[in-house]
Symmetry: C2
Subunit: 345 residues, 2 copies
Amino acid sequence: MKGIRRLAQHLDISIGTVSRALNGKPDVNEETRKRVLQAAADLGYVPNQSGRSLRQGTTNIIGFMMQTGTEITGQGDIFFMSVFDGVQAVFARHKLDLVALLCSSQEDPNDYLRRVVARGFADGLILSATQRDDPRIEFLAERNIPFVTLGRSLTDAGQPWLDLDFEGMAQASIDRLVARGHRRIAVTRPHDDVNLGYIFVDRCRRALAEHGLPLEEDLIFRSTPNEAGGYQIARDLLALDEPPTAIVLINETIAIGFYQALSEAGMKPGRDIAVIGRYSPHAHFLSPPLTCFRLSLRDLGIALAETLLSAMPAFKDHYPDAPANMVWPMELVEGESDAFLIPQR
Amino acid sequence: MKGIRRLAQHLDISIGTVSRALNGKPDVNEETRKRVLQAAADLGYVPNQSGRSLRQGTTNIIGFMMQTGTEITGQGDIFFMSVFDGVQAVFARHKLDLVALLCSSQEDPNDYLRRVVARGFADGLILSATQRDDPRIEFLAERNIPFVTLGRSLTDAGQPWLDLDFEGMAQASIDRLVARGHRRIAVTRPHDDVNLGYIFVDRCRRALAEHGLPLEEDLIFRSTPNEAGGYQIARDLLALDEPPTAIVLINETIAIGFYQALSEAGMKPGRDIAVIGRYSPHAHFLSPPLTCFRLSLRDLGIALAETLLSAMPAFKDHYPDAPANMVWPMELVEGESDAFLIPQR
């Protein structure tokens, strides 16, 4: 009532009249209504949404749940900021605000989400870092809370999701490397149980099998998704008795550390080992340029927002064609990091 | 009431009894209280904070307001994620949640903040990107909302703030470059009206004056704080009739684009021009390694959180020694990018 009380004092009329004027009730004369609206604009009055939320069930806030933590920092940062940019472009049409719900890696994401929901300050949610089995999905579905996930999961409550085409990246990378003569091809996956690791490695294995090749267990490298993780992968790889001749890197920033560790060992991507990775703003500053898979993160953010809104009664009529489940394509950008060929026998 | 109703149904006792048990009222027998608390734990019950907030004025949420937008993405991302890590370490002690309030560069930050406050979902706020004159500071101070700013401003409402030691960086950089014989030294500043640009450039000018040197207007480069901005600075600099022999870069990621544009012109930092910048996780992957100023972002986050809590009645007794206003030191990391010497006449 703070805002409305100030407004009433300023105008020297009753709070009830101000409230009726603001809410468009008919029993206020036109002159008064104009004065109230003008004063509301002048004083920057905004209705108290915390109270409004309890009555109307709307806060006009959408939460984007993402993980934070030392071992993750560096990876998703630029990814998410660019996605937010697209999400906000859509939300701005409807005066919805986006807040990032930062779940520390020290905390159980399920407990965190439960708290977020209990606090009831968001009208809808976007979940990222979907796990292989993800109880958050059932939790939200049971409560009829509108949400969309960035990433698939084995947990299926019929929820809308968008995900990157990790299968396409796996298949194209393996085909490309095999065609260049590689037989010992390494792959990477995140250190944790995030679902994309399973999708990616499974498809790499299948693609290799199509060429009659195995995916050897010691050629699957787990790492934190940042520079340090990439550095460690290269060190571990070089320590093998028989190192692979090619590698596919699943995260954006691991390429930077990977290059560094190779360089310290006197090796160069494209000359001594073939490397395929993911695009990041830094990718084309690497030497040699990274052959990588790219997508428009802003467009992905736009689609994510539209898909969420299409699941919210108040907005769904605006988005009849929003994708409900979609694998987002990635495009191959040719660099020089996979120029290394193995002579065919 | 949803959560408590489910709990009551599950236990088959009245909502009133459940509520009294949860709130530690004396008129509930011990057996029942234990059953209720056990069930609350099993079902993951959390009190509805939206209702609680209106009654008690606390949401246990702290908002960190930051800017987003295409022209900014790339710069602050890794910076903020690392700061969040420290902030969350402190908040976890008090079961406070951190949310990032993402203000699009398309929007007026003052309007945005007004909305955030009206919605009343945060108990306290951390503001970043402080402007030279920043109305947000007076707005929050007038309303007695606990807040701390990351960055100083000419607007002074006695608020607590922490800021990086841009003066120290300016002074040390200029002294170092002058000692190496440089006379034409360029500096950079952000494209917008953020206060740190003024602080930095003013101190560079003063430090140069101490050596009897001017800071020429055409050697002050404004840019967006990302790779593209750094690229443009190098292009503009190389187009000058008489390019500078040294430059100090104020943002983290502009070094990457700056190196790239130099490289395209056949030039190399440390050999053809002296470069001093700011540390980023990518800095030591640059070739040659960047001479740069570094700080622990996690420690900065910890201090920021403690300073905020020391301004909040519920927590201030825990933080009697939190800094109220502090300039955070940065440490020089020697690289090779400023190895270029100008022979003394």
